[in-house]
């Protein structure tokens, strides 16, 4: 489980970093999305990975160690919402840039060959 999660986070983050360093705005936005997925997984992982642990059992006062930590899940939810909103906003700016500059290069102009 840990290994799969770690490889998943690493692959997503590496692909994301590669993509945001690319010159086209669309590549950048996909890169940012991949990076935000990897960060969200990372937050979950930081709450200690444990499969099948409940957040709460009805009518049971147990050891806190046997439950999943709910806080990272709340954090991830907030982070997902925020990154979704900012990605949408970035998409608008991307389109505006494409319309005004006539190119999808991140600098608003094609590099001189």
């Amino acid at each position: 489980m840990e290994l799969v999660l770690a490889i998943g986070i690493g692959t997503l983050a590496a692909s994301g970093v590669w993509l945001i360093l690319r010159p086209r705005t669309f590549q950048v936005i996909v890169g940012l999305s991949l990076l935000s997925y990897s960060v969200n997984l990372f937050i979950v992982a930081m709450g200690r990975v444990r499969s099948g642990a409940p957040v709460l059992n009805a009518k049971e006062v147990g050891d806190a160690g046997s439950f999943a930590d709910p806080l990272p899940q709340a954090l991830v939810l907030t982070a997902i919402v925020i990154s979704f909103a900012t990605t949408a906003l970035f998409l608008v700016v991307l389109l505006a840039s494409r319309g005004l500059a006539g190119t999808d290069h991140v600098d608003g102009q094609e590099p001189e060959a």
Binding site: L35, S36, F42, R48, L75, T86, V93, A96, V106
Partner: protein, 539 residues
């Protein structure tokens, strides 16, 4: 000291409600109502911030527990001297730039006023929160509003700068999240006071992870603060922003500086055990490099707005370097400097557009804006004829320019000089060994500050000569009272800060002392009376 007055949450709620209400009223017909609401709400915010400053100056920390949940389980807002000071500074700058925008700029695009209020909400929240994750939420809020405001007025230059600005800040937000979750993974809390209490007890094998988290977090803040080498986006973005927006953006780098100052002293202060002083050297040398980069940039910039952008870098670099020295005297000088330089730079950004109005490069920018909003153009012109224009325009502009230059470069008689003097006096005579040899970091700071002051002076003098003396073909720009008044207001505060330097400096010293003794903050927030006894019972 818990419970607190409900007033602490007002600087967050008021802009939220005002901004949301404005969205309902948006449109051409309601523009004057919306503008009036914005000015009214901002004036109210200045009054609230002044009241809160009065509360905090008495030495009490006002801790507001949302939903009455005790820290560290609930979310808290903490008002102490530093946050009250930053609140007042933010809202004063906001008032100046919103009044300035009424002359013409608020017509250059949609939703200026509501975005402006949301920006204020994010800024006020970031200064008040006592919780790392809420800090993230408020950061995102102020950034989202700032993306909109940076693009205000549209045009290719702004969209290009905005694109880079957004990508950089989105990447920084991800780093922020990584840092926060690493710290949570090690300590199991996100409340700043609780963190400060737990950092000394972190096990040796987890300490590396904690410090890595803090480092990643610091990169996110330093990017906002504009520390070299994370600041190449800043001068371009600030120069492209419309003047009232650039003016309020002057405080945005200070949010990063504020968080670095607060967290480094709270989490890695002298009581932090093995982690004490973490990152101190980085801040010092990074800050010095930022000042040098800013100084070279001011000398190299042809455009007056870019000159302002590089001055922002010098200003935040100075405060960062002072944070790295970590002494009560230096910190209080740095706080004095922070207030004075932010006011000066903010006034400078407002002034730049007025003086460039009669010249080609500035005219270009406005023309681009006009082009994008073609129809509004004629109505604009007609209305301007009616506005009151100032007679001795060039004289007033010249005086304001000299005032800004003196504050930014740190020359007597204005507040910039007192600030730098206090900073250097404390750095050269450290309190821990009085009369001893001057430490190396004191010499380094002295050299870099004097050099940067000189560079700023040369650059502003050159710009002043170019604008006011050397150009023959310039037309005298039409300037309205409503545009000149905010600049004079900001410079007047700088002058007041100079005249009242004694009381202001005492306030800064008290602020610095409480920052350097985080134990008081921790016990106030965690409310040891109630929470500590319950914890003891449980054991």
């Amino acid at each position: 000291m818990s419970g607190g007055s409900g007033l602490v949450i007002a600087p967050i709620l008021l802009p939220l409600l005002t901004g949301a209400g404005m969205l309902l009223l948006n449109g051409e017909r309601h523009r004057s109502i919306v503008a009036g609401l914005n000015v009214g709400a901002t004036i109210a915010l200045v009054c609230i911030a002044t009241l809160l400053l009065g509360v905090s100056a008495a030495g009490t920390r006002d801790v507001y527990q949302l939903g009455n949940w005790h820290a560290p389980f609930g979310i808290v807002l903490v008002l102490d001297r530093l946050s009250a000071l930053m609140l007042l500074l933010t809202n004063v700058l906001a008032l100046a730039s919103v009044v300035y925008s009424l002359a013409r700029w608020h017509r250059a695009g949609a939703h200026f006023h509501s975005l402006f209020q949301f920006l204020l909400m994010g800024l006020n929240g970031a200064f008040l929160t006592g919780d790392l994750f809420n800090l993230f939420v408020f950061f995102e809020l102020l950034l989202a509003a700032s993306y909109g405001l940076l693009l205000h007025g549209s045009g290719l230059a702004r969209v290009k700068a905005g694109l880079h600005y957004i990508v950089i800040n989105l990447a920084a937000s991800l780093l922020f999240l990584i840092g926060v979750s690493l710290i949570y993974g090690v300590t199991g809390t996100l409340n700043m006071a609780d963190l400060a209490a737990r950092v000394p007890a972190v096990a040796a094998e987890s300490r590396g992870l904690l410090e890595a988290g803090a480092g990643v977090l610091a990169v996110a803040f330093l990017l906002k603060a504009g520390m070299w080498p994370l600041n190449f986006w800043l001068p371009t973005a600030y120069a492209a922003a419309s003047p009232p927006v650039a003016s309020i953006f002057a405080i945005m780098t200070k949010v990063g500086v504020y968080v670095v100052l607060r967290l480094s002293l709270l989490l890695f202060g002298d009581d932090a055990g093995a982690s004490a002083g973490f990152g101190q050297e980085w801040l010092l040398w990074g800050g010095l490099a930022t000042i040098l980069f800013g100084a070279i940039g001011t000398l190299a910039s042809q455009d007056t707005a870019r000159l302002g952008g590089f001055s922002v870098l010098i200003s935040s670099g100075t405060v960062l370097a002072a944070t790295g020295i970590r002494q009560v005297g230096v910190t209080s000088g740095a706080l004095f400097y922070l207030v004075s330089s932010t006011l000066g730079i903010s006034a400078f950004f407002l002034l730049v557009e007025l003086i460039e109005r009669g010249r080609e490069p500035g005219a270009d920018m406005i023309a681009v804006t006009r082009e994008a909003y073609g129809e509004a153009d004629e109505a604009d012109e007609a209305e301007e004829e009616v506005g009151i224009t100032i007679v001795a325009t060039m004289g007033l502009l010249g005086i304001a320019f000299i005032g800004c230059a003196l504050v930014i470069a740190g020359l007597p008689p204005l507040s910039g000089f007192i600030a730098k003097f206090a900073l250097l006096a404390a750095a050269l005579h450290p309190a821990d060994h009085p009369g001893g040899a001057i430490p190396g970091n004191g010499w380094a700071l002295l050299a870099v500050l004097v050099l940067s002051g000189f560079a700023t002076l040369v650059a502003t003098a050159r710009a002043g000569i170019r604008i006011f003396w050397a150009s023959l073909d310039r037309t005298v720009p039409r300037v309205r009272v409503i545009e000149m008044a905010p600049i004079m207001f900001l410079l007047f505060i700088c002058a007041a800060q100079t005249v009242l330097a004694g009381p202001v400096m005492r306030f800064m010293q008290a602020t610095a002392q409480s920052l350097h003794a985080p134990a008081g903050y921790v016990s106030d927030v965690l409310d040891n009376g109630a929470w500590g006894s319950r914890q003891a019972e449980g054991k």
